[in-house]
């Protein structure tokens, strides 16, 4: 519990700190005079120390899982990442790049090097090699466990700079503090959650920050940096598609709203061309980047950009407005026609591949449910429940609209970007649970703007009151006008008291947020899901380590070339911990193969035997949670096996397993259900 209290204090301190910082010059007039520091220096010192504290806080608040359980890899996918990282550190990069894994997806095998995003593994291996070089004898597992918290810390720094770029440094600090403890982000970046997202959110935010910076400055260097940030993102996570669609959308909005500028032209073109070339170096992406439908928006905007530039040039050359209007009409029409034609021909000839199912299901949440059971079966692909928004964002959910208000009050290229980022990602977060993660930085930033602006206004109000004799109230008036909550009349006598009350209220909310975040982190997001913990009858903790014991049994008691058939959830863990060949695993690239397993699981025993003989299966692993009350066992997942199996093999029909439309597993269950494997 030491960690808990400590981090709580830290959180409160951190969130409260920006306000202190803003008030610093107020105090510096009298109390800090003795320090021979100028106001600017003091502010810098404060800012750096706050950022340092936030940095540390972001790291330690993610260590609950290590304290509660042990330094271990969580969940399903991270085991694969761990296994590949181990391979990378042992065999070197080229072996990793060309790794053909014959232990998974038996008998098809899987080209690991060509079907993963190597960013995470390379990052972890790089950290590992660096530590080794510095003569720190660490195990690669420790590095893997702590990679996500480390990158979460780095994200806070990026969030600070991003906030500073779009608003001011105060907002940046608040954003850093918010994102450090926001449960929506912590859920994917606790120690041990060694997954792509942990690194990817950092890369995502970095790319956005650098791009906004490039747009603001019009500098080639920043655009180049942004392209490299994009490259890192592409190498780390499939969510890069969000970037390559959001940025063109943003550019398009700027173009439509007449905010086209040379800065935008430089930033976008450089970022897109270089980013595309770099992204194509990742084997998993390759030519998809110029061929698949998801990336076409970026290309279209790229060409549109050239058209705009050309028009600008023509406008400059033609002094006649009327002529230019006519020319504009012709050019725009022909450009759109050519674009549409190219897209149509490309799609029809198969050169441009259509959108993937996952992308469709983002735009139309019911699509996956009807057409692709494999996507709908994953719990983190379900539409988000209202409560989980509250759970993951807490007060940020209320601050978010306030922040949007502030952004609209002060529209700039940067704030338009953050508004668009916030709105689109909020929509996607509503479609899929896991995309809350993507929305988290935007929500944190926008809320930070709200908090920072409000507190700044309130404090400046206080300050002008206290210093009425010294300075005029002109500054305070301007501030209070901008503030939504502190819109008191200047002449009102209780203005100061009201401001103090509101300030206290804000601090109360922020401290509540900090407590909530810490509680959520400790209770909900720190369990590794491979080791189960439950509260016993007397409130004591009971630990079930059955999974790992089962995998250890497999490792010890089966022949080394045994093939284990299980539902795909357990594939990665069996290969990583059990060191045995599996038929299907969590990389669900071959739906037919999974459907075959689903069919085997849901057929009668003798039919299932034939299927399993054809796959050379030696062992079948099923999980039954009936004894311990573990809810996500195979009985629970069984209907998905039926649905996925039935999606490919029509002999499997879902109604055969239901009784009057209900799913029953007791003795009243359907006969086919009881007699299947």
């Amino acid at each position: 519990m030491v960690g808990k209290t400590e981090s709580q204090n830290g959180a409160v301190k951190a969130t409260a700190a920006p306000a202190m910082n803003l008030e610093s010059d107020l105090f510096s007039n009298f109390s800090f005079k003795s320090f021979k520091l100028k106001t600017k220096q003091q502010e810098l010192l404060l800012r750096v120390s706050i950022l340092g504290l936030v940095y540390i806080l972001a790291f330690i608040t993610r260590l609950f899982s290590v304290l509660r359980y042990e330094s271990m890899i969580h969940e399903f996918d991270p085991y694969f990442n761990y296994r590949t990282t181990l391979f990378l550190t042992e065999k070197g990069f080229y072996e990793f790049w060309n790794w053909f894994d014959s232990e998974s997806w038996y008998p098809l095998g899987r080209i690991i090097g060509g079907t993963l995003y190597p960013g995470l593994m390379v990052t972890a291996a790089f950290i590992y090699w660096t530590l080794r070089f510095l003569r720190f004898a660490v195990h690669i597992r420790e590095v893997c466990v702590l990679t996500a918290p480390f990158f979460a810390s780095n994200t806070t720094v990026v969030a600070y700079f991003f906030g500073k770029e779009i608003w001011d440094s105060g907002a940046g600090l608040v954003a850093a503090a918010f994102i450090a403890i926001c449960p929506g982000y912590i859920s994917r970046s606790v120690a041990g959650s060694y997954d792509n997202e942990g690194v990817a959110i950092f890369a995502l935010l970095l790319t956005f920050y650098l791009f906004v910076k490039a747009v603001n400055t019009g500098s080639l260097a920043w655009a180049l940096a942004s392209a490299f940030g994009y490259f890192y993102m592409v190498s780390a996570w499939g969510g890069y598609v969000f970037i390559i669609n959001l940025i063109p959308l943003y550019v398009l909005v700027l173009l439509i709203t007449g905010r086209y500028s040379m800065r935008l032209y430089v930033a976008y073109n450089c970022m897109y061309v270089l980013g595309m070339l770099l992204a194509m170096q990742i084997r998993f992406v390759g030519f998809q980047h110029v061929q698949s439908g998801e990336h076409m928006a970026a290309m279209g905007v790229f060409f549109l950009m050239q058209v705009f530039y050309f028009l600008d040039w023509v406008k400059y050359m033609l002094s006649d407005t009327k002529l230019f209007q006519a020319f504009l009409r012709i050019t725009v029409t022909s450009a759109i026609a050519v674009g549409a034609l190219a897209l149509g021909v490309g799609t029809a000839s198969g050169y441009i591949s259509p959108w993937t199912g996952r992308f469709y299901s983002l735009l139309d949440p019911t699509y996956a449910k009807d057409n692709i059971p494999i996507i709908a079966s994953v719990s983190e692909h379900q539409p988000t429940a209202w409560s989980s928004f509250m759970f993951d964002f807490h007060i940020l959910l209320f601050l978010f609209p306030a922040g949007l208000y502030f952004c609209f009050k002060k529209l700039s290229d940067a704030t338009i970007f953050i508004v668009m980022y916030g709105l689109t990602s909020m929509y996607f977060a509503g479609v899929m649970v896991r995309l809350i993660l993507v929305a988290t930085p935007a929500v944190c930033l926008i809320s930070a703007i709200a908090v920072s602006a409000t507190i700044k206004n309130l404090t400046s109000l206080l300050r002008t009151k206290s210093k009425t004799a010294v300075a005029g109230s002109s500054k305070g008036t301007g501030g209070s006008k901008a503030s939504s909550k502190a819109s008191f009349d200047q002449s009102q006598p209780f203005q100061k008291n009201g401001a103090i009350a509101l300030l206290l209220g804000a601090f109360y909310l922020l401290s509540k947020y900090a407590t909530h975040c810490t509680w959520v982190t400790s209770e909900a997001y720190s369990s590794p899901s491979i080791v189960l913990a439950a509260r016993g009858a007397h409130g004591n903790r009971v630990i079930f380590d059955d999974y790992r014991e089962a995998y250890f049994w497999l490792r010890q008691n089966t022949p080394p070339d045994a093939k284990v058939m299980s539902w795909w959830d357990y594939g990665y863990q069996i290969t990583a911990m059990g060191n045995r060949t599996v038929i299907v695993d969590n990389n669900t690239w071959n739906n037919t193969h999974i459907a075959t397993v689903g069919r085997a699981m849901s057929s009668y025993e003798d039919e299932a035997y034939e299927i399993m003989r054809s796959l050379d299966v030696d062992y079948v692993l099923v999980v039954f949670g009936g004894v311990t009350g573990y809810s996500s066992d195979d009985i629970n997942k069984f209907l998905w096996m039926v649905r996925i199996g039935g999606g490919v093999f029509p002999v499997i029909k879902e109604p055969d397993y239901l009784v009057n439309g209900d799913y029953r597993v007791d003795k009243g269950a359907a006969p086919k259900m009881l007699n299947c494997l």
Partner: protein, 427 residues
Amino acid sequence: MAKLLLYLTLATSLIPLFSVAFSPENPTDRRVLVLVDDFAIKSSHSLYFGSLTSRGFQLEFKLADDPNIGLQRYGQYLYDALVLFCPSVERFGGSIDVASIVDFVDSGHDLIVAADSNASDLIREVATECGVDFDEDPAAMVIDHINYAVSNFDGDHTLIASDDFIKADAPVLFQGIGHSLNPANSLVLKVLSASSSAYSANPKSKLSNPPSLTGSAISLVSVVQARNNARILITGSLSMFSNRFFRSGVQKAGSSIKHEKSGNEQFLTEISKWVFHERGHLKAVNVRHHKVGESDEPAIYRINDDLEYSVEIYEWSGTSWEPYVSDDVQVQFYMMSPYVLKTLSTDQKGHYSAEFKVPDVYGVFQFKVEYQRLGYTSLSLSKQIPVRPYRHNEYERFLPAAYPYYGSAFSMMAGFFIFTIVHLYSK
């Protein structure tokens, strides 16, 4: 002197070690447990047992209800084969029961079951486990009014002279219960079947309704070769093995040829050679595969590699391993379905080999040799080998077809360079 002694003792102690190490693997059974109803069978069937003993088998005779018999001790089987000459036993003594006999066969050991009319339920159960069903009427015998043996000891035509088998010199005498094969069992086959005029009924009683087993559906002697190459012989006649039948002459009804000696001895000797793995036992050794032009076996192949697969197959002749010569051994390169199916060519000395190209598909393949021929032990070899795609540096570095693209890229670079210079410094 002491040194010499030491060497001598070392040498002598090593000799048996070497002889064990260098002796070729011998698939023939050595230790046989014979369970009998009473020891009289030992003498009445001595010719058959004598032929076994002379071929080197160690026979151990026990009464079937001896309370001390057991097939295994401390998890090790004590015998290589089991002979059940106890048609009337109701319950085995010791630890033997039907399940343990099935386990015995499942672990690759051989079995001879001889029943008789009035065979007990236990023996029937053993037979059912092996895939044959004896006639349900306990008193039934196989009767054949046309192909019976002319004899002087009975007139009810239950002594059958059958020659429905390969290369019959003289008919085989059979007297006992018939059985039918379980159609669901594809491993069991008839060796000696009754003629089409035979039927199975109780000879003492009048035939009230049609017999359940008739004609050549009746099997007199059946064999099973299990998937693990355990071999089983089932017959409905214990007296087939007796000295009396071995010695007696035989004259088939309606035939003028009178054979001085029945075919029983030759038939049963040969078939027990087969059952005890003295004949028809194949082994495959030295399964090798490598790339053409290399000799080391790789851990993984690349797509489109040329490879060579070889295996050596030998047949046990009873005393030594002889090369097995055949031209129908095939190898499969298999992943869920065979991608390559090729007949192996042989050098007539037991060495089989084939060369082929790995298909352009990656995955985990298997070299499979499934060789199943009647009378031979089945060979089922499979060796797993992954096939990987090309590495990043195994593609061609410069494609001739891509030269226009290289050209355009470099001309673009040069053009841009010139353009920059002109643009910057022309004014």
